[in-house]
C-alpha cells in the first residue's frame, strides 16, 4: 500500500450546513454543501478555504467568515459548530482540526447569536459591543514620559498570575455565544479582574466596574445564570471565579463609591 493511499483513506467527505445571510437586514437561511477529500490535518478554517475556493471557481459568493492570525491568539474566528462555539474542542476555530470529525459527518455552522452581535454577513458578526465595553472603563490612566523602572511597584506573585490568567481573554465572544442568556459576564469579568488585581488598576477600580457593567447592560447582553457554559467553552479557559470577583467588585463599588 502506498503512503499516498493511506493518506487518501484518512481524508473526509463531509456535509456542511452553513448559515448564509447577505447582510444585516437579510433574513438568511442554511445552505448545504458537500466537501470531499478533506485532510484530517486541515484546520476548520482551511476546510472553509477549500469550500470557498470552489465557490469562487463556480462564480458563486464565497462564505464570509472572520479570521486573522490563525494561531489561536487574535480572537477573530467565531463559528458556532454543531451547537458549540468553536466546535467540539475547547479551542479557537482556527485551531480546531478536521481530525475531530468523522467521515460522512453533517456539520452545522452558525454565526454567534446575540442581540448585541448583529450578523454583518454569513458567519461574520459585529462584535464592536465588546470594544465599547472596554472603552467605557477597561483601561488604566498612565502618565506619558519615561518608562518606570521594572519591578518598581511590588506585586504579589499570586495576584500577578491571576491577573495574567484573566488577561489571556482574547475577546472572541465564545462566552456570549455559549451562554443560554447571551451574557457577556465572563468577558467583562476578565477585563475587570485583570486590572482589579494589580496596583496600577486601583485608582479607577470602582469607577471601572460600574461603568463597564453599565455599558454591558446598555449593549443588551443577558444576565448570568452561572451555568458555567462560558468558561467550559472559553478557548483561553477564563475561570468562573472572575465573574464572582466582578460581582464582588460591583457590589462593593455601588455600596461604597462617592456617587449618590
Amino acid at each position: 500500500m502506498s503512503s499516498e493511499k493511506i493518506i487518501m483513506e484518512k481524508n473526509l467527505n463531509l456535509n456542511l450546513k452553513v448559515w448564509r445571510q447577505k447582510n444585516a437586514s437579510d433574513k438568511g437561511k442554511f445552505e448545504e454543501y458537500k466537501v470531499n477529500d478533506i485532510s484530517t490535518d486541515m484546520s476548520f478554517l482551511e476546510m472553509f478555504d477549500v469550500l470557498n475556493e470552489r465557490l469562487n471557481n463556480e462564480g458563486k459568493d464565497p462564505v464570509a467568515f472572520d479570521h486573522d492570525c490563525r494561531e489561536g491568539i487574535c480572537g477573530s474566528c467565531s463559528m458556532y459548530i454543531n451547537g458549540r462555539p468553536h466546535g467540539p474542542k475547547q479551542t479557537t476555530t482556527c485551531q480546531l482540526h478536521m481530525r475531530s470529525f468523522n467521515d460522512g459527518d453533517t456539520i452545522v455552522v452558525e454565526p454567534w447569536r446575540a442581540q448585541p452581535f448583529p450578523v454583518i454577513k454569513d458567519l461574520v458578526v459585529d462584535r464592536s459591543a465588546f470594544d465599547r465595553i472596554i472603552s467605557s472603563g477597561g483601561f488604566i490612566s498612565v502618565n506619558t514620559g519615561n518608562a518606570q523602572d521594572a519591578n518598581a511597584i511590588p506585586i504579589p506573585k499570586d495576584a500577578a498570575d491571576e491577573s495574567f490568567a484573566a488577561a489571556a481573554c482574547i475577546g472572541c465572544g465564545a462566552c456570549v455565544a455559549a451562554c443560554k442568556n447571551a451574557s457577556a459576564m465572563l468577558f467583562v469579568s476578565a477585563k475587570v479582574s485583570q486590572l482589579a488585581l494589580l496596583p496600577q488598576g486601583m485608582p479607577e477600580r470602582k469607577k471601572r466596574v460600574m461603568e463597564m457593567v453599565a455599558q454591558m447592560d446598555a449593549e443588551g447582553f443577558g444576565a448570568c445564570t452561572n451555568t458555567g457554559a462560558c468558561s467550559a467553552e472559553c478557548p483561553k479557559e477564563i475561570s468562573l471565579s472572575n465573574i464572582a470577583r466582578m460581582n464582588r467588585e460591583y457590589i462593593v463599588a455601588e455600596l461604597s463609591s462617592d456617587s449618590k
Partner: protein, 263 residues
C-alpha cells in the same frame, strides 16, 4: 436612593435579588423541615399541633412569615422577568444547540423547575395554610395526666369550642395534675390529605423539583454574591448537594409517604 435603584436594576443587581431571596427561602426550608419532623412523633399530633399554634401566633414569626411570602413572590416574579430579558438578548435562536456539552441541565432549566415549585407552593398553601387560617379544621383536646404522663385525645368540633368559649392553648387544672391542650387539629388534616395517592405523588415529584432547583440554585447564589473562594467552595458545594438537594427534599418527601403507608 438613586444608587440603590441603579444597583438593583443592573443585571448583577437583579441577580443579587435572586440570590438573597433564594438563600432566605433556603433558610426557611431548614426551619420548615425541622419543625415538621414533629409529624413523625407518635402522639396523635399533640407536638405538631402545639407547634402550629406557636408558628401562627408568635408576632416575630408572623412578621418573618410575611417577609417570606413576599420573598417567594418576588423571587418568582424577578426570575420570570430575567428569563424574558435573557430571551431578548438572543432574538434569533441557534438551529443546533448542545448545552449538555458545557453545562448541567439543572442550571439551564431553573425557570421551569422554579415554575413547578411556584405551582406546588400554591397547592401546598391552599391545602394547609388556607385550611388552617380560613377553613373548617376541627379541634382536638389533649388531656395529659401529669403524674402518669398519659395523654388522652378527644375530637371537638369548631362549633363546640366556640359555643363554650374555650380558648385555644394550654391550660392546667387547679390541682396541677392535668394539663389540657385544645388546638386546631392540623395533624388530622395532614393525615386526611395524604390518604390520596395522587396528592402524595404530587408532593414527592415536587420535592424532586426542589432538589434539582437547589442543586444549582444554592451554589449559584454564592457565586452571585461574589463568594467563590478555595477555602469555602467545598463546603458550599457539599451543603448545596447533600443537604439542600438530597437531605431536605428527601425529608419532606418522607412525610406524605409516611402518612400514606403507615396511617
Amino acid at each position: 436612593m438613586n444608587w440603590v435603584i441603579k444597583m438593583f436594576s443592573s443585571t448583577i443587581g437583579q441577580k443579587l435579588i435572586m440570590a438573597l431571596t433564594g438563600l432566605f427561602l433556603c433558610s426557611f426550608l431548614v426551619i420548615h423541615m425541622v419543625g415538621n419532623l414533629q409529624l413523625f412523633k407518635v402522639d396523635n399530633g399533640l407536638a405538631f399541633n402545639t407547634y402550629s399554634v406557636f408558628m401562627t401566633s408568635n408576632p416575630v414569626i408572623k412578621t418573618i412569615s410575611y417577609i417570606l411570602y413576599f420573598s417567594i413572590l418576588f423571587h418568582a416574579f424577578k426570575g420570570l422577568m430575567l428569563i424574558r430579558k435573557n430571551q431578548k438578548s438572543r432574538p434569533v435562536k441557534y438551529a443546533v444547540q448542545n448545552g449538555a456539552a458545557n453545562s448541567h441541565w439543572t442550571s439551564r432549566n431553573m425557570g421551569i423547575l422554579g415554575t413547578i415549585l411556584l405551582v406546588f407552593i400554591v397547592i401546598h398553601m391552599s391545602n394547609f395554610w388556607y385550611e388552617y387560617k380560613f377553613g373548617h379544621i376541627p379541634f382536638t383536646s389533649y388531656l395529659t395526666n401529669m403524674a402518669t404522663g398519659e395523654t388522652k385525645s378527644s375530637p371537638m368540633s369548631a362549633e363546640y369550642v366556640q359555643s363554650n368559649k374555650l380558648e385555644e392553648g394550654i391550660t392546667s387544672n387547679e390541682q396541677g395534675q392535668f394539663r389540657v391542650v385544645i388546638v386546631k387539629d392540623l395533624y388530622k388534616e395532614v393525615e386526611e390529605e395524604f390518604k390520596e395517592w395522587w396528592i402524595v405523588a404530587l408532593y414527592v415529584i415536587s420535592m424532586f423539583a426542589v432538589g434539582f432547583h437547589l442543586y444549582h440554585g444554592f451554589k449559584s447564589a454564592f457565586q452571585t454574591l461574589g463568594v467563590n473562594h478555595v477555602k469555602y467552595n467545598g463546603l458550599i458545594k457539599f451543603l448545596g448537594t447533600w443537604v439542600f438537594s438530597v437531605l431536605i427534599p428527601a425529608g419532606f418527601a418522607a412525610m406524605p409517604l409516611y402518612f400514606f403507608i403507615f396511617k
